[in-house]
Symmetry: C2
Subunit: 250 residues, 2 copies
């Protein structure tokens, strides 16, 4: 396949925000936050309407190389009497992605909509909403006090009040809680204490917690509850377990 033609088709596709798919023998070099070289080999290259470029090998979901928000330029050159097509993509962060094609097996351009229409459920946001609906099954008498308020820092924090009128910060995680989750909760609790000027409890709610994270949590005097959830059309929290720490209280 004539590389001159390939160059034209790629540039035309980018200009018209089509999706361009190329299969060809290439060498890839990246310079930016890191630096990498992909030796000569046959690969799949995708140019999308949002100006992203991805290089895929015949394995893994993620591309081996990629660049987003790029401006791509093409030049054909002759090296050792052989034609080469050089694609240079740059972005604002001064990163560069260079693809050199030695030969192209196939190139196709498709007019696909640049839509974003995945409907995902089971996200933390959704679980958060489910939890907000009824905090009482976490602890009797617990009431949310910041349904809309935004003196919270993260997206999914709940500030509530327990039956004794004490403030409670709840951090919800949809996966095993790690060190970061604990320090995050600690920060929020401190922040709320500072703003409200009263002692505040902190509850970490997660399906599971790493051992060292649990230790840190306890040393901070925070509380942990495990929970189960079900994903589906509408995700829901199935049950709350008591943490060891909590058990010890009784």
């Amino acid at each position: 396949m004539k590389l001159e033609k390939v160059s034209e088709e790629i540039l035309n596709s980018i200009k018209n925000q089509y999706m361009c798919i190329v299969i060809g023998e290439c060498f890839v070099s990246y310079q930016g936050r890191a630096s990498s070289k992909l030796p000569r080999g046959k690969r799949l290259i995708i140019f999308k309407a949002d100006s992203s470029v991805s290089i895929h090998e015949n394995r893994l979901v993620r591309p081996t190389n990629y660049m987003t928000n790029s401006k791509t330029s093409c030049t054909t050159q002759t090296v050792d009497k052989k034609e080469e097509l050089k694609l240079l993509s740059k972005n604002k962060a001064k990163e560069t992605l260079e693809i050199i094609f030695y030969s192209v097996d196939d190139i196709n351009t498709y007019d696909l909509p640049m839509s974003n229409d995945l409907r995902l459920s089971g996200s933390e946001k959704e679980l958060n909403d489910a939890l907000m609906d009824d905090l009482s099954f976490l602890e009797p008498g617990l009431k949310p006090i910041n349904q809309q308020q935004s003196f919270r820092k993260g997206v999914c924090d709940i500030i509530a009040e327990d039956r004794d009128g004490k403030l409670v910060v709840i951090e919800l995680k949809r996966r095993q809680a790690d060190y970061g989750a604990v320090t995050q909760l600690k920060r929020y609790v401190e922040q709320v204490e500072k703003i409200k000027g009263k002692q505040t409890r902190g509850i970490l709610l997660a399906p599971d917690i790493r051992k060292n994270a649990m230790e840190l949590l306890q040393s901070y005097g925070l509380e942990y509850f495990s929970y189960d959830f079900e994903v589906g059309e509408r995700s829901k929290i199935k049950g709350i377990g008591k943490s060891q720490q909590k058990l010890g209280d009784y």
Copy 2:
């Protein structure tokens, strides 16, 4: 394009570990760790040799839907007098990905090697080595005392001794340091203090640090130095800057 033929080509491609690329009108539904639905629309679907399936829209580097380690089966059915091709992919984690094709614009199969071409990264080891070679440009009189200790990727823990004989834990980050970096360093310092039984300094070395992380670091009494590095054939540290905190000392 006849969906019966499409079905055959996809299954054949999977069997032979080719790469199969399909452009078609489809609906996608996923159930697993989360749950999602992608309404009918024209998309790119990639079947790779490692049995991964990805669905791409005309934007973003990452696929909207995907599945790895899957077993895929095909059935064609007729709904409302219209032919449909149903692909069902399952993996061991009991996750399911269902793609229903209403029409297929194009399908191509390519015999690409399932190689894992090493991406040579501007090596972090080199940054570690460069730093280890001469700690004195961080601070006069600083000497490493665990030259042989193993490094983890992306993180370099060095234990050194300053000119006053005090222990210094140094953590090197490749990227902007965040809360995690600070709490990590804090942990190491505490660990070393506990083991060695003597007061220990902690230095965070990173290209940049987030404002809040800086505050936390200072509240912990830790130190921060910024540095520049160059990636390329041989990565090297270009220079060490002094942190605001450090400047205040002088």
